[in-house]
Symmetry: C2
Subunit: 484 residues, 2 copies
């Protein structure tokens, strides 16, 4: 093979020399990453978008692809430092805005091998063992979601958004009449986006109380629709982590003949915890379920899963492409992978998920889920004890929703942006109908996905929110009840 | 932070200790990978699906997720060995069936940092520098595709399938009447699948000659449709690597007012080679273009790109979610990333693409593309000189299409499966209308994406095809014209 093999920029990750070449280049990337982390020294770079753009420009950003290269080592060192210095790092407890987890090192290490071997999950002859491992892992996931249904099956997706789309798509394909999506006012925006994408009517929106779907309102919405509806319930909302009353919703769906998809992208991994699993009881009654292992599960994005109670429903995804799954090849025993996804080329994301579950066991994962939920409960108690803060309510998962007492929406939004700009904390926000007469009101939120923290790690952050709100209002900050 | 931090299975990849923890775990994964590669000793494990399934079962496969873990080191070593031993490795020249490239080590190394820092590309506060780097890289890609259009823009996708879907989706959203997709008989199956997914009518299929769309036939198909059509042309078909006459197709589309999307998932990176770029001239006249850097580009799956000549067309993807891109945040200067994809959480795949381009330059990438195309031309010459083989035609990209002389379809299919089962070669197949009266006929193909090979690396493989065909027919194998 050619001479260019000598240039480290053209080294291959696979083949006989792959491992040794990765062993040469990865330390350079990690060196840059460590330097960037030291340089950042906080959960996110300070200065906001303008400052980050300026750092890139200063580092030699260009608006054209470079014609000539600078070599592998220099590119790795340079870009890794830049990325790590300019990242919002969820491994810092003060980076707690979104369902954005700090990934486990074991998953990232496993992904190196997946990327180097590069199995593509659209045909067996591109992914022999990767497809076997995926099938085994997905059988386990299907059983986790539907323990009483041996005909359950699961597929890998690019995340909750694709999983919710699959939930609507399978409903569309298994229903003779035009299907109508029905979802709670608390549902993720991807539900209505999926309806739009699939050419379906916009979802009927069912009112919520305390960010949970109201069963009676669902029954009313379903009355004129009957079996031509697909209901999307949520097990862990993005705003508050609330869980819809799944058992009751399933019963109502069954009575009307509607299909039920549960968006458990956030809460689904509670199934790994004996003590928490009862909170999502009823999940096993759904027709399909969305799970994300890049939330609880601590995988790098993306690690989406979609489980179907009846494997036969997945046949809606069947597609034939002579070059990938010819009939005679399938008859000759080559597994047909193409109908396992709406994508064609597909990363073996199941590999790092499977390695992680093998390393920790479901018990180990469940313990990390419990730690996050416990921390959230404790942080909410800190909020409740803090005279300058108001809690929205007790966490059901790991989301703490709160606001500075007496603040209006504008102040709430400014506090969040000020902390972001300062680079000291990354906090989330969400509008909830808690204003007078149920009008929308803005709240702050902490989505706690750090598996090693305790409430103590958030004391300073809460004090910072209070101090910032006071400063924005031009009044002196009250003392922390904890520090005092 | 908690005590569980001491167990390597719960180590985080980010934060202060991330780099050192990855430096501890990744060598274990690479050690397993190297052991697996040695164990395999060929492009793919021998024995076919049954044998791979048996290896997994022998290695302790289970149909339930394990309750208790075995720790990070053991899980990494075990699964990495299994995956590498059981993979179809495109870094082996004899693994040449599909548009399945051997990834560059520099890209895999960069991806470690991306996975560890885990920016999620759906909001700025999850991906400050990653979103800046992506924007810069995509500006470069847009300019590469549409050098004369400063208003061009590009987005990252999960591959050609999603890019083709975006091509149809933007057409649907920018056209008042019901849009009708029109594509060549040579187009990728994802085009009709996208139409199905989007609730559009099935595509009108335009006949091809030599696996290229016939312009006159396109004009005829467009006559009754006019501006309510979106035409999908192909720059590099999956079966043969043929390129549609893009300039002529663009002219016809312009006359009828139809939109034009070019699926250049395979051929798009020819833009990096001065000598080869003219082969896809006319690409810049399209409304949108699909490119895959996990083909030419040597990225691990997925590295899809979608470029739009008019950035404004991408506004069809606009979506508002209060927690990710609230109006007041956008007004306050926080970039709105949500409308850059149909996904929500999204890996920073642009990072490793950008690092690779920085390491090699477009010239360096172009040289690798040239090497593949040259090798394909030379391998086709070997085929033409071989008395027992028939060539389908001269390669336009890097696909060599051939068959044993006098073989029927059944024999062609069996030769491919026999080599696959033996673990000695991974060869592709494709049906082309070359039989009597244009009936479908099965051909073998080599899709050459190995950037370091020369024709010599494929002599033995061609001889093996000939010998296998002879053995299947029960006749002695003719001698190789090269070896003789």
């Amino acid at each position: 093979m050619g001479a260019s093999d000598g240039d480290s920029a053209t080294w291959l990750a696979g083949g006989r020399h792959g491992a040794s070449r990765l062993a040469t280049l990865i330390p350079t990337a990690l060196h840059g990453m460590a330097a960037g982390i030291t340089e950042r020294n906080g959960p996110i770079p300070s200065g906001g978008p303008a400052s980050v753009a300026a750092s890139l420009a200063a580092a030699g950003g260009t608006k054209r692809l470079p014609k000539t290269g600078i070599g592998a080592e220099q590119a790795l060192e340079h870009y890794s430092t830049l990325l790590a210095a300019g990242t919002a790092d969820p491994a810092d407890p003060s980076c707690a805005a979104h369902l954005h987890c700090p990934p486990l090192a074991v998953s990232v290490a496993a992904d190196v091998v997946a990327a180097a071997m590069n199995p593509s999950m659209d045909s067996w002859d591109q992914a022999p063992m990767a497809s076997e491992l995926e099938a085994e892992f997905l059988t386990g996931i299907a059983h986790l979601c539907f323990p009483a249904n041996p005909t359950a099956d699961a597929v890998v997706t690019s995340g909750g958004t694709e999983s919710n789309l699959l939930g609507l798509l399978l409903a569309r394909e298994t229903t003779a009449s035009t299907i109508r999506p029905v979802c709670g006012a608390n549902s993720h925006h991807s539900v209505s986006r999926a309806a739009w994408l699939l050419g379906l009517p916009a979802p009927v929106v069912v009112p919520c109380q305390d960010d949970r779907m109201i069963p009676e309102a669902l029954a009313e919405a379903l009355a004129p629709l009957g079996a031509s509806a697909v209901v999307v319930a949520t097990a862990g909302t993005t705003n508050t982590g609330r869980i819809d009353p799944l058992g009751e919703i399933a019963r109502i769906c069954r009575l009307s003949g509607a299909r039920l998809h549960v968006d458990a992208a956030y809460g689904g991994l509670l199934l790994c915890s004996q003590s928490l699993a009862p909170r999502i009881a009823g999940l096993e009654l759904a027709d399909s379920v969305a799970l994300d292992m890049h939330k609880f599960g601590w995988q790098p994005v993306a690690a989406g899963l979609f489980a179907a109670r009846n494997a036969a429903d997945l046949s809606a995804l069947t597609v034939r492409a002579e070059y990938l799954n010819a009939d005679d090849d399938t008859e000759a025993g080559l597994p047909d992978l193409l109908g396992r996804s709406i994508r064609t080329s597909r990363r073996p994301d199941a590999f790092r998920m499977a390695v992680t579950v093998r390393a920790l066991g479901t018990q180990g994962l469940g313990a990390l889920v419990e730690r996050c939920c416990t921390t959230a409960t404790e942080v909410n108690e800190l909020v409740e004890r803090h005279p300058a803060l108001q809690s929205w309510g007790k966490p059901e998962l790991s989301t703490v929703v709160f606001r500075p007492r007496g603040a209006d929406d504008d102040l709430v939004a400014r506090v969040r942006r000020t902390l972001l700009e300062a680079g000291t904390a990354v906090i989330g926000r969400g509008a909830l109908p808690t204003g007078p007469d149920g009008t929308s009101q803005l709240w702050l939120k902490l989505t706690l996905l750090h598996p090693h923290t305790t409430a103590e790690d958030y004391v300073e952050l809460l004090d910072r929110v209070v101090a910032t709100a006071a400063a924005e209002r031009g009044v002196p900050a009250p003392q922390s009840p904890v520090a005092s």
